[in-house]
């Protein structure tokens, strides 16, 4: 979607879809969603203003943003093949290799006990679950015939489980957890995500906002990227509002940018909403490129003391 005002332009990519038949069009009310999102884009292009935040502020991100964060900052580094270096010349590696101290020098340097790798705050749990019926990443058996099940990648802030196919499960001396996906009959089944999201918490969105003196609510995003170890990430907000004295104001913030490392992002989270919403996306990996459908969504996240560019 493109919106243009006298002085400004904004663009929006919106992923909609699911593992349904034609009935999805009615169920999802696509027309209404597109109209609603178009109106929000028009609001953004007309009203959003740049605000210089000189000091760190609290940031609440909506389902679309928390979804891409779960995918990029947690899902990808959890893929077993990346950790073992198999994708180094294509989709890249994973900083989990050092975190898990798989190399001798890291084990000695960091004195890390692999069983207890704390990466996020206590309230952070991230799940990859292919068994959600109707979801874009839905499957019951993976492409190596292993039964699908939900996988807690992070549980209560600690690394818990990786995404593994049979080949890389063997390298980690464990069993496949059903993450093998292939984009077609002539492609390798490799560790992939399905529906990856922060586990919903106990707060309502309003409760998350109530406790913020000054901050930004980011509902959607435009530009994003992350380095190939999945450590330095960047998300630029699109529809974003200023929060003041515990309330979301009508003042829209133009393109607030979060440029954070994965640990700093996960440790800054102190509250998670109790609802969940998903968006459809395609994830690309491997060579030849293997696009697979995934969902990127989740609850609202509140992040404390974050630098907003």
């Amino acid at each position: 979607m493109n919106a243009k005002s006298k002085n400004d332009k904004e663009q929006r990519m919106l992923g909609l879809g699911g593992s349904y038949g034609w009935e999805w069009i009615e169920k999802e009310n696509v027309e209404e969603t597109v109209i609603r999102e178009s109106e929000k884009l028009v609001d953004t292009v007309n009203k959003a203003e740049r605000i210089d935040f000189t000091e760190p502020v609290d940031v609440i991100v909506g389902p679309e943003v928390s979804g891409i964060m779960a995918h990029e900052n947690v899902g990808h580094p959890s893929e077993g093949d990346r950790i073992m270096g198999r994708e180094m010349a294509q989709a890249g590696g994973s900083f989990y290799r050092e975190l898990l101290a798989l190399d001798k020098e890291d084990k000695q340097k960091n004195n890390i006990d692999q069983e207890e790798v704390k990466i996020g705050s206590d309230c952070v749990s991230v799940i990859d679950d292919p068994t959600i019926k109707g979801s874009p990443g839905f499957y019951l058996y993976d492409d190596e015939c292993v039964e699908a099940r939900p996988r807690y990648l992070i549980k209560d802030g600690q690394l818990n489980e990786l995404l593994l196919n049979r080949e890389f499960a063997a390298k980690f001396d464990t069993c496949s957890n059903g993450a093998a996906r292939s984009a077609g009959y002539s492609r390798e089944p490799i560790p992939r995500m399905s529906n990856t999201f922060f586990e919903p918490g106990e707060h309502s969105k309003e409760e998350l906002v109530e406790d913020v003196d000054k901050g930004v609510l980011i509902e959607s995003f435009t530009e994003w990227n992350i380095d190939d170890r999945r450590y330095h990430s960047k998300y630029v907000g699109l529809e974003a509002y200023l929060i003041q004295n515990g309330e979301v104001t009508e003042k829209m913030v133009k393109r607030p940018a979060l440029e954070m490392t994965t640990p700093s992002l996960l440790r800054s989270i102190d509250g998670i909403s109790d609802d969940y919403e998903y968006r459809m996306n395609f994830c690309g990996k491997s060579d030849p490129m293997q696009p697979v459908s995934v969902s990127t969504g989740g609850p609202y996240l509140r992040m404390r003391e974050v630098r907003v560019g």
């Binding site: 270096g85 198999r86 530009e223 990227n225 960047k234 490392t261």
Partner: protein
């Protein structure tokens, strides 16, 4: 590679497809027969992971039908694997009758009706490709060894080769057949987990190919060693020297905006800038389908239009778009509405049976789109050493990048993540390796700020560069680098 001798190729297949479609009621038809063999070796941690081969032989048939008194036509495509006369006569009529159920496509305005009696003669096929897959594992081993000898601790990469034979016939009688082959590779060497160097090889001419990969391995290994012990970079404003690999990704995104489909979709920052100066006098870029070393070179496009060069940027001025017949007609109509009668664009031989977006592994075409062949930049006069030594301001030398994403494609606002070796140049000398920065820029702004173009062109094609691009080192002044908060 014995199947590449053309034994299975039959021009009768193409004639049957076109005649069957026309007899069934199609107004226009393209039949394209593709026979190809692809081979790939992937390696990581200094050893080979997989050795794969794909063979395919299929017929793509594009059909259109124009309802009476209508603007726009109905279009459809069908792909038939291992085509036979029987399969074609069975499938094609069904597809033509299916057209009646489809909506009209306004953007489809017909195909090239001219008759071409000859096409550019090019040597696009190196017969040694037929034995290349036998050599490939040894080439990989040599590449790994040379990277390790140059300082790498472990090496990853990929080596591809492809041989194809294309046959084409349109309902206007245009087309022919040609063979093409190439090999390409990416080598990424690691001195430690955070110190890496990458090099690529992109060749149609396979002579001395082992030495070319050996040299590429050495280059990647040296870069990885030189980038060891990198310090955290500081955010700020720097001049920037890009390798051809980086330049092809960044400026390739600008040149992709010369595709009218990108303009229609609001995804080109070149919209409204035709005939405007967008870069320095030295900047000239053409779409070049007839350069023999080009991976996507071809004597004709998928409408059977004879291949020709198209100037996209000439002496810094935005000069042209790539068109197929449909977009050219559409653009003519647009100009007419704007009373620009004198501008009558025609097809630039850039028509391709293709699909848009990520749809899975199958490459079956869905429609006819304008598509670039090879981008070719004009070389400049600087050597890399001169670019470095004339850098009086702090300058970053970027050897590779990935994950270029846009805040707004119609404005050209983007950021991209440096990957592999990155160096800080101070007082005209490479001072030290740095890490942890992100380039934030605007395509139009960076194009205006091009300060120097290198004297040698390299062909780039890899994971992050889709269109083969002949491009030199490029130096750009005043670029912004940002940094993640830890």
């Amino acid at each position: 590679m014995n199947t590449m001798t053309g034994k299975r190729y039959e021009s009768e297949v193409l004639k049957t497809a076109v005649n069957t479609a026309v007899r069934s009621g199609a107004d226009e038809v393209i039949a394209k027969l593709v026979e190809e063999k692809k081979h790939q070796v992937r390696f990581s941690n200094s050893s080979i992971d997989v050795n794969k081969e794909w063979e395919s032989y299929h017929l793509d048939v594009f059909i259109s039908k124009k309802p009476r008194l209508s603007i726009g036509s109905k279009i459809d495509t069908v792909t038939i694997q291992n085509p036979s006369q029987e399969k074609i006569k069975n499938r094609v009529p069904k597809q033509v009758s299916h057209l009646d159920d489809l909506p009209k496509i306004k953007l489809y305005q017909g195909m090239d009706e001219n008759t071409y009696t000859s096409y550019p003669s090019m040597d696009l096929y190196d017969s040694s490709i037929e034995e290349f897959h036998r050599k490939a594992p040894n080439i990989v081993k040599t590449t790994i060894d040379s990277a390790e000898n140059a300082g790498a601790e472990n090496v990853s990469g990929v080596l591809h080769s492809r041989a194809s034979k294309i046959g084409l016939l349109t309902s206007y009688g245009n087309g022919g057949e040609y063979r093409s082959s190439h090999c390409r590779g990416t080598i990424r060497a690691f001195n430690d987990k955070e110190s890496s160097g990458q090099s690529i090889v992109v060749k149609k001419d396979l002579s001395n190919i082992e030495q070319k990969f050996e040299k590429a391995g050495q280059k990647a290994g040296q870069l990885s060693k030189r980038s060891a012990g990198a310090e955290e970079g500081k955010s700020g404003n720097y001049d920037l020297i890009m390798t051809p690999t980086v330049a092809a990704n960044i400026f390739g995104n600008l040149i992709n905006g010369t595709n009218p489909i990108m303009m229609f979709a609001g995804m080109s920052c070149l919209k409204g800038k035709m005939n405007e100066k967008i870069g320095p006098e030295e900047l000239t870029v053409v779409d070049d389908p007839i350069i023999e070393e080009g991976l996507n070179s071809r004597p004709f496009d998928d409408e059977g239009t004879s291949s020709e060069r198209t100037t996209l940027i000439g002496n810094g001025e935005f000069k042209g778009l790539i068109h197929n017949t449909s977009t050219a007609k559409f653009w003519r109509l647009k100009n007419l509405v704007k009373f620009k009668f004198w501008r009558r664009p025609k097809t630039t031989s850039n028509s391709e049976l293709a699909q848009m977006g990520m749809t899975g592994t199958e490459q079956n075409p869905r429609t006819l789109l304008p598509s670039p062949s090879n981008y070719r930049f004009k070389s400049g006069s600087y050597s890399l050493d001169e670019m470095i030594s004339t850098s009086s301001k702090p300058t970053i030398y970027l050897t590779s990048n990935w994950y270029t994403r846009f805040t707004n494609m119609s404005e050209g606002e983007f950021s991209t993540v440096p990957r592999d070796a990155m160096f800080l140049i101070e007082s005209g000398e490479v001072n030290k390796p740095i890490k942890g920065l992100r380039l934030k820029g605007n395509l139009l702004d960076m194009c205006k700020k091009i300060e120097a173009l290198g004297e040698e062109l390299e062909q780039v094609k890899w994971w992050e560069v889709n269109t083969p691009t002949f491009i030199p080192y490029i130096k750009v002044r005043d670029c912004n680098f940002t940094k993640a908060s830890l």
